[in-house]
Symmetry: C2
Subunit: 462 residues, 2 copies
Amino acid sequence: MLEFENKRLELIEKIEEFIRRKQYAALRDLLCLLEAADIAPLMDGLSEEDLPLLFRLLPKELAAAVFVELDSDEQELLIQGFSNTELKEVLDELYLDDAVDIVEEMPAGVVKRILMHSDPDMRKSINEILKYPEDSAGSIMTTEFVDLKTSMTVADAFKRIRRTGPDKETINICYVIDDNRHLIGLVSLRTLLLAEEDAVIGDIMETNFVSVSTLDDQEYTARTLSKYDFLALPVVDTENRLVGIVTVDDAMDVLQEEVTEDIEKMAAILPSDKPYLKTDIFEMFKSRIPWLLLLMISATFTGQIISSFENALAAATILTAYIPMLMDTGGNAGSQSAVTVIRGISLNEIAFSDILRVIWKEIRVSLLCGLTLATANFLKLILIDQMLFHNSAVTPMVALVVCSTLIVTVFSAKVVGCALPLLAKRVGFDPAVMASPIITTIVDAISLSIYFSFASAILHLG
Amino acid sequence: MLEFENKRLELIEKIEEFIRRKQYAALRDLLCLLEAADIAPLMDGLSEEDLPLLFRLLPKELAAAVFVELDSDEQELLIQGFSNTELKEVLDELYLDDAVDIVEEMPAGVVKRILMHSDPDMRKSINEILKYPEDSAGSIMTTEFVDLKTSMTVADAFKRIRRTGPDKETINICYVIDDNRHLIGLVSLRTLLLAEEDAVIGDIMETNFVSVSTLDDQEYTARTLSKYDFLALPVVDTENRLVGIVTVDDAMDVLQEEVTEDIEKMAAILPSDKPYLKTDIFEMFKSRIPWLLLLMISATFTGQIISSFENALAAATILTAYIPMLMDTGGNAGSQSAVTVIRGISLNEIAFSDILRVIWKEIRVSLLCGLTLATANFLKLILIDQMLFHNSAVTPMVALVVCSTLIVTVFSAKVVGCALPLLAKRVGFDPAVMASPIITTIVDAISLSIYFSFASAILHLG
């Protein structure tokens, strides 16, 4: 990994050197040895003059592949500088779904120019796909697939694949439709290859297939594809007419993005889809401040609990010293359960109907954890605080208050932590929001209330 | 999603009904309409008698596909009940990498029986793959791929694919090797299909390809495949000899697992690879207690800080009421930064060399967040606590102490939160471990020290 980073820095130096010395042929040869996904990050740090220069050195096909991998800022910069012919050349090389991704990120003026210079078929398809809601299967599909008819023979099918294949994103799976474009089966290239030339598609096609609808969520679509280990998944409209396919590479990207979103939500951040170093500080501020504010205000209620036990605290100031430990342990125990359950929900391993099993599991785990922590803490209080440091305020009674609070805190943290995400899911909220920060705030209030009640009861305070 | 859950419950009922009435033909027809990945979870709840019964109803190919999708407990149960012929039949249908996955999960006795009944080629390959360290590219690869020679024509290649293809996991990409099995190029099925029959492989193959080594990490392997949008990635040994390929479906699974692991680590859980409902409570206890204990002990240091300012607190008990708010806000602000940076690292968007840019970004964001939170909190203290609730202890000076602590807390939380994961990465630790729980513990100590210093200075306490 570190090696890779060093190689990248070395390459950037070499490229800058070539540019400075105007050794363009050598530069072109160097770039042609790399994959598009490796060239794009190298162009990241280039100046506004060098970027188009480097891009124009690339052979047409590689240039288009690199273009797809660039960040939208750089894509826009390049498009602004393209002549109409150059723009058309790049667009002609793009797969439809990549073109749609680019169009989605561009300002209106640039979009107009792109559509003007796309060929009519692509323009129509781009407009078609742009109609689907963001995050739907329709918005990530491509309409470039190979379709076959039941009456074709395998030889006919190969003829069709050879004729139309070069423009299709994938030819590994072909889709069989009837005259009204209803999807009725699919056949893999492997099946075609292993079949006899004169076999009929209708006889060898797979009719027991899985499809998604254009309005299905993109995460559901990607998970379905991943679950069945497909290379592509057909997308149909409400009347089961085939309108597009989602390919495995796009599904992987969707899963990646959705996981990042979940992780951000779990850390109380409003999700953004830009890479960290590309996000400006005001965007970061806007995605972080809402939850910080909300949680700060909720935490003041916890403060109220402390205020209302002011007398107890004044009588036994030693109790204050254990507040951070109780709060942190409660927060950690709760977020362990919450995060495990949230991940289980998003992997479809846990459903709402499992809620009782989940709570029962967490109750038993929480008792094991609580008892262990309480024992460790009791020993620490008596052996270290009292006997080693001679802190006379740490009486066995104080230790009893702290340790019994610990058990109840861990118990309630784990129960709240596992139940809230499932309840959120049930009422249609995003379970990921019910992670550590919210759980911590709730558990803080619970554990401090318990702490002071136990203190009042056992130490006869208040 | 909910619909899906209902459909599952309905199916289970139907299946149990069929079993009770011994309507096996109808049951078989029902199952044959489903995909293997859908049948496996249905078998989850079956009794030890019904499981083999249902399994034996399935046609051979479907049975093998379902077998792969089952949990290892159920696989073991089935294998125990298989006759030798049955075991051999299932094994013959399995792809090599699936067979390896199964062998890895089985107890020694079962492994021996599996190896005894695999055909000699598969046995050799299984033993080969088992040699590679867990989590390496070698351990997730399959050795079932199509290899071609440079001198072959396209027609020869198709002959070879038709002959050997049925047993290969993928034929979409074929690998070109020399006489010593060195990998020298690759050619996609698409290229073969679109080429002339008499074209020579050496002329049409892609020689500019990406490969991984057998000992490369599985996550690195999966990310590489995903980065380049490949359907399979060749795996070579130290002498560049082709030993296997990793296919996109396995790469997706690896990414899924690795993300789950990262999320668990971020929540202070030792990662396990079992689904939640399958993990017994002692395993859960063992994966959760170490961090809880460690963090509990660290949190007692924070308690020491409070103890050492006992006098300040006794003089102004109102200060205690704001401890939870300061601790929670610090923890949340820190984990926002930590989690964002950890995710950026694992997506290769952030490297250690970016550390200064990252810190500078976080400093500016933290000032924006800190000032906003402090302003909101100051207004709340004065308008609500002091004026509305007439809490005379909340003086403007106390508000000043609380709010300036808030700014410094958010500042240090964000700087520590972004820097620690990068430093961990640098020294070869897992950055994911440096997430919320550890950051929270560190930030607690910092923020309370600042709180009491400010209190001493501004309120002249102590």
